[in-house]
């Protein structure tokens, strides 16, 4: 440092700011955001979840302790919503990762029109989730929907079917299909980029050693893309817990008889349809806890797999 002392001193003067504080100055906006958008709301919403706080009955605001949480365990809509969320998340993760990986494996080589293919694959990702829900609502329309028409043409059904009113299982399956359609390209693109970083020499070496296709996939491809694969699964599972837009348009407000009321939707519904912010916060807090547990276990998994 000795030789540069002269320079760094003059530079310092022209900056007119102490070295130590400069980065903090840059960080001020994000720290404000962290405070106002993160810490305050998280604490505030926990406090809210301990209150009976209804917007339509202002006088009734009262501290109730853990009562909201206790009521959750007697609330059938909530308990069912947990199972439904598990089914939905599992479905979206499994399908989007498997299909995305398959597409990435197919598209990893060079071919004519690869650029166009990539653009087409990105399109569903650009479609707003709200519009995606609308689109599928219309594909599944009992009279004019394309799906209904196809089923009729195949002779599988003879009259109009209200697809979204059969059972929660069927409805949620359709939501899984809709969201898988939109998220597969995202998964495929990330995995494709990972595949392209796997060294080709490894495959050639394996070929010399007489490895078959499955062995190459199992011992070269999978370890090579493992990190990205884990990240993708993590992103998909965290975002699938927060499914809202597609549900909101495909089956407005949880559908008939709360069929598609997943936990996240239930938090919205109790808070902003029933205006019960205290209870809604409690529901939301359960989602937060699940997300937190998931994130932590993934972080552990990632750091572990990085060490190997």
């Amino acid at each position: 440092m000795g030789k540069n002392n002269f320079f760094s001193k003059t530079v310092n003067k022209s900056r007119g700011l102490d070295d130590k504080y400069y980065p903090y100055l840059l960080e001020t906006p994000i720290l404000l955001i962290f405070l106002v958008g993160g810490i305050i709301p998280i604490v505030y919403s926990f406090v809210l979840s301990l209150f009976q706080y209804k917007l339509n009955l202002k006088s009734a605001t009262a501290f109730v302790g853990l009562k909201n949480y206790i009521s959750l365990f007697k609330d059938d809509v909530f308990l069912n919503s947990l199972w439904k969320t598990a089914y939905y998340s599992g479905g979206v993760i499994v399908f989007s990762v498997l299909i995305g990986l398959a597409i990435a494996l197919i598209a990893r080589r060079n071919f004519y029109g690869k650029r166009l293919f990539m653009i087409i694959m990105l399109l569903p990702w650009g479609i707003p989730k709200v519009v995606n829900g609308m689109m599928w609502k219309w594909i599944l329309d009992p009279t004019i929907g394309v799906f209904t028409q196809i089923m009729k043409a195949l002779g599988l059904i003879s009259e109009n079917v209200y697809w979204m009113q059969i059972s929660p299982f069927v409805s949620i399956t359709f939501v899984i299909v809709a969201d898988t359609w939109r998220s597969v390209p995202f998964v495929a693109i990330l995995l494709l980029s990972a595949l392209q970083m796997v060294q080709i020499q490894l495959y050639e070496a394996a070929k010399c050693d007489g490895a078959n296709a499955w062995q190459k996939f199992r011992y070269i491809t999978i370890p090579g893309i493992r990190y990205v694969l884990l990240v993708v699964i993590m992103l998909q599972s965290i975002s699938s817990l927060k499914v809202f837009d597609t549900l909101y348009t495909l089956t407005p407000l949880g559908g008939t008889d709360n069929m598609t009321t997943l936990t996240y939707m239930y938090a919205y519904k109790t808070s902003f349809s029933f205006l019960n912010l205290g209870y809604g916060s409690a529901v939301g807090y359960v989602v937060t806890l699940i997300t937190l547990l998931l994130s932590l276990s993934y972080v552990r998994l990632l750091t572990k797999s990085n060490n190997i």
Binding site: I106, V130, D245
Partner: protein
């Protein structure tokens, strides 16, 4: 003979490959094209369940543009998306710059702390934010909505930009400072020109996310500030669904994102990878 056999085998393999690729692409593009074609059909064709490519017209779009509610929603979406993306960019440039070029206490805490906002379920943050925004007197206003948008966008864009900034060699920073460039000048004179593709990707990312968002405006907006996504969603909550209007609104709402995806697909892919994987 053997060579010929090998050649036909290869051609067959290639054909199968291109069929698979085409079918895959079709599955992902067909619903969008179908929606586009439907939006061009006159209303009466849809009711009578006839589909005639020849009848295509811009009728539905023209009637859409005659609606006050639609125009208001379009304007609101534009204002909210542009302003929030712009503010987000400024905040995340500053943050990413500090994170990439300076060592300071609590750096990791800041990076991971802000990232945890993105992980947290938005609804949990939105309930208190709704109360806060109302108490400050910004309920339903553009300012309130834009500020909340920035809260949700900034962590993601910062994370993305940090990846791009980390690729800039540290030596460049040191030598620029020795040459008398101030630390603030370094952002504008050197970093921003170098990472222009990264900036574009990040801005587009933030634009698409903001444009597509529905939960925040649903909770915070009033009739003047309700967005295009909300307007689109309103088609599905009515009992008799107007599918021509739905398709046209759907297509129109998707247009900005689709254009950006087509124009900047390369940068977007890079940005996705930078944001999601590299970190």
């Amino acid at each position: 003979m053997i060579l010929m056999k090998k050649k036909t085998g290869r051609i067959l393999k290639e054909t199968v490959f291109y069929i698979v690729i085409t079918v895959t692409a079709l599955i992902f593009v067909a619903p969008i094209i179908w929606m586009l074609l439907t939006s061009l059909q006159p209303y009466k064709n849809l009711i009578e369940m006839r589909f005639r490519l020849f009848d295509s017209s811009l009728e539905t779009y023209i009637s859409l543009f005659a609606k006050q509610a639609f125009l208001r929603a379009f304007r609101a979406s534009m204002i909210i998306t542009l302003f929030s993306s712009f503010v987000t960019m400024i905040v995340s440039i500053l943050t990413a710059y500090a994170a990439a070029f300076f060592n300071f206490k609590g750096k990791n805490a800041v990076v991971f702390g802000t990232l945890s906002i993105q992980m947290a379920p938005a609804i949990v943050l939105m309930i208190p934010l709704y109360i806060l925004v109302s108490k400050v007197g910004l309920a339903g206003s553009f300012t309130g909505i834009i500020l909340v948008f920035v809260l949700f966008l900034a962590p993601m864009t910062t994370w993305m930009l940090r990846g791009f900034f980390n690729d800039i060699p540290r030596a460049l920073f040191d030598s620029a400072l020795i040459d008398g460039c101030s630390r603030t000048q370094f952002i504008f004179r050197i970093i921003l020109p170098i990472v222009r593709p990264g900036l574009a990707a990040t801005f587009i990312f933030s634009f698409i996310t903001a444009w597509n968002e529905v939960l925040i405006p649903l909770i915070l907006s009033n009739s003047t500030t309700s967005t295009l996504t909300m307007y689109a969603a309103s088609f599905t909550t009515t009992y008799e669904v107007d599918y021509a209007g739905l398709a046209a609104t759907g297509i129109f709402t998707s247009i900005p994102s689709i254009i950006l995806v087509i124009m900047f697909n390369k940068q977007l892919i890079e940005g996705l990878i930078e944001g999601a994987v590299k970190g």
